[in-house]
């Protein structure tokens, strides 16, 4: 199978500093990743169009957060981005989705139409749009071909939205990308909700998630989430995550039934 695997660039933003884009891309290419998602706050965002040519990596998306006061910044990213046609958009205007979030989407959708950009709404624990349910509601409201959803296993787990199969069914018409992370519920984790770890760690079963996506015929991109709390040697964590991902996909091909859980709860 060997699906192309991406990694979000957060993993390179550590407490000791941020690795330069060249080092990020060299590490990703050497460890076998096909591409990266760049954060909109990256100081090297303008180099994005060179990434494919210089390092052979795809830039799958740019990750962007909307908060009140960032209207012009967000609009400018949509207007100016080159070398990438997908923006993963988190909405953080309040404890729930706010009118300002809706105004923001209304403002950028015409730019998306004109410039051929897709928005993948990014549910994010502790933000305004936290759950897949809220993202689906926005997609239903706008019903726009340029507006979809990125399913992020970490945030689904951290918000304890649960009902994986039902949530994937609900998200399916709008599903563009999938992000993965090892994680466990913990007050020591991000937002005091859950840890962000390499894919071979944590209590969330990503093999089951992969199986559920495979059964639905998901053909989109997988990305791995990373965060400074993972700590340690970034390169080693990249290796561990891709190693675990390849193990899971090989196993899934050989034993698809293993990923189907019973209906029993304990």
């Amino acid at each position: 199978m060997n699906r192309p695997l991406h990694h979000m660039d957060f993993i390179f933003q550590t407490r000791l500093g941020t690795y330069p884009l060249a080092a990020q891309c060299e590490m990703l290419a050497e460890t076998g990743y096909a591409g990266l998602t760049m954060s909109a706050w990256s100081s090297e965002l303008k180099k994005l169009p060179q990434v494919k040519e210089r390092w052979g990596l795809d830039v799958g998306a740019v990750y962007l957060i909307y908060r009140p006061g960032l209207e012009d910044f967000v609009t400018n990213i949509f207007e100016s981005i080159e070398g990438c046609s997908s923006i993963e958009l988190a909405l953080h205007s309040g404890d729930t989705v706010q009118e300002a979030d809706i105004r923001m989407i209304e403002r950028v959708l015409p730019i998306c139409e004109r410039r051929g950009i897709d928005i993948a709404l990014y549910p994010h624990v502790r933000y305004g749009m936290q759950t897949t349910s809220e993202a689906v509601a926005l997609c239903q409201r706008f019903n726009h071909p340029r507006l979809g959803i990125v399913f992020n296993g970490y945030h689904w787990y951290a918000t304890q939205e649960k009902s994986l199969e039902k949530r994937l069914d609900a998200v399916w018409p709008w599903l563009r990308q999938v992000n993965l992370a090892g994680c466990r519920l913990s007050p020591l984790g991000w937002g005091q909700a859950a840890t962000i770890e390499p894919l071979d760690e944590g209590e969330m079963d990503n093999f089951v998630l992969l199986g559920a996506l495979e059964r639905r015929g998901f053909q989109g991109r997988f990305g791995v989430l990373g965060w400074e709390s993972m700590g340690g040697d970034v390169y080693g964590n990249l290796q561990r995550s891709i190693g675990a991902f390849r193990s899971m996909e090989t196993r899934l091909k050989a034993h698809p039934a293993w990923s189907v859980m019973t209906d029993i709860s304990y």
């Binding site: 649960k162 994986l164 090892g182 466990r184 913990s186 007050p187 020591l188 894919l199 071979d200 760690e201 944590g202 209590e203 969330m204 079963d205 990503n206 093999f207 089951v208 675990a244 193990s247 899971m248 196993r251 034993h255 039934a257 293993w258 189907v260 859980m261 019973t262 209906d263 029993i264 709860s265 304990y266």
Partner: protein, 269 residues
């Protein structure tokens, strides 16, 4: 010596669901485990117990034990009925979680179970469990000494011994040696974020409990049984965690064989 290694089926439970029993057995067999412990909990197993007798033929795995949880005065009949009927397993592990009638009630239950154990050629291992009525090896040992029955013994669970902070590892193992029927290991660190707000359960390559020293201590008392790997809700991608656990336990045994002197001088607290 090389101990057979089995996994507890609770490894396959997570907040995302429960793996089918067939998947559990297939994974363990592929990874090279020798057996599986199947839980019937308080009498409502998540696994169809009628499958146990075909596990060896179908998957080449031993059913290392059937695990039961007694709520004395509440589920006595249910558990007795399971022990009366279960096939495909020789060892029954029994944890005593709650009791309506105290020590005498628990003794009466064990007394009522022993004739069934005898008649059916089974063995009964009492299982010390943190936050249960019988928590420590000392408490369980007293019950074994009370009955002095050749088919009644106990399990030693490294996690519960460590989490219960019973301490005195060597002394405890020597004391329970005549009754020791089964061993279960886990990585663990004392932590309010762990199970029961007491201690984490982790693969044996993590945590602060030195499982290498524990295996060395088991070797010294001449333990010959199987070593079980505890799992509970920390699994993530279960297969990779099981792989790590088996690798670690095998690596510790090989290291012990090559370097029997690599043992801490001081007894574990």
């Amino acid at each position: 010596m090389s101990y057979p290694v089995h996994a507890l089926d609770s490894f396959f439970y997570s907040s995302m669901g429960v793996y089918t029993f067939q998947s559990q057995c297939e994974m363990l067999a592929e990874l090279g485990y020798d057996g599986i412990t199947v839980s019937a909990w308080g009498g409502k197993p998540l696994t169809d117990l009628s499958l146990l007798s075909s596990v060896k033929a179908r998957h080449g795995l031993d059913v290392s034990a059937l695990y039961l949880v007694l709520h004395e005065g509440r589920n006595d009949l249910l558990l007795r009925d399971i022990v009366e009927r279960v096939e495909g397993v020789q060892l029954v592990e029994l944890a005593v979680q709650t009791s309506l009638n105290g020590a005498n009630g628990i003794k009466r239950f064990i007394e009522s179970l022993l004739p069934i154990i005898e008649r059916r050629g089974l063995r009964l291992a009492l299982y010390p469990h943190l936050h249960h009525v019988t928590q420590t090896t000392s408490e369980v040992l007293q019950l074994c000494q009370h009955f002095l029955h050749p088919q009644l013994g106990m399990s030693f669970n490294g996690y519960h011994w460590y989490a219960g902070q019973e301490g005195n590892l060597e002394e405890r193992l020597v004391a329970i040696k005549p009754w020791l029927m089964q061993v279960v290991l886990s990585g663990s660190a004392l932590s309010p974020l762990g199970w029961g707000s007491v201690a984490t359960m982790e693969p044996p390559d993590r945590g602060e409990l030195d499982n290498f020293a524990l295996i060395a201590a088991l070797e010294r008392i001449g333990y010959k049984g199987s070593i079980g790997i505890l799992g509970w809700d920390y699994g993530g991608d279960i297969y990779l965690k099981l792989q790590r656990c088996l690798y670690t336990v095998h690596a510790m045994q090989e290291r012990l064989l090559a370097h029997p002197g690599w043992v801490p001088n001081q007894h574990l607290r």
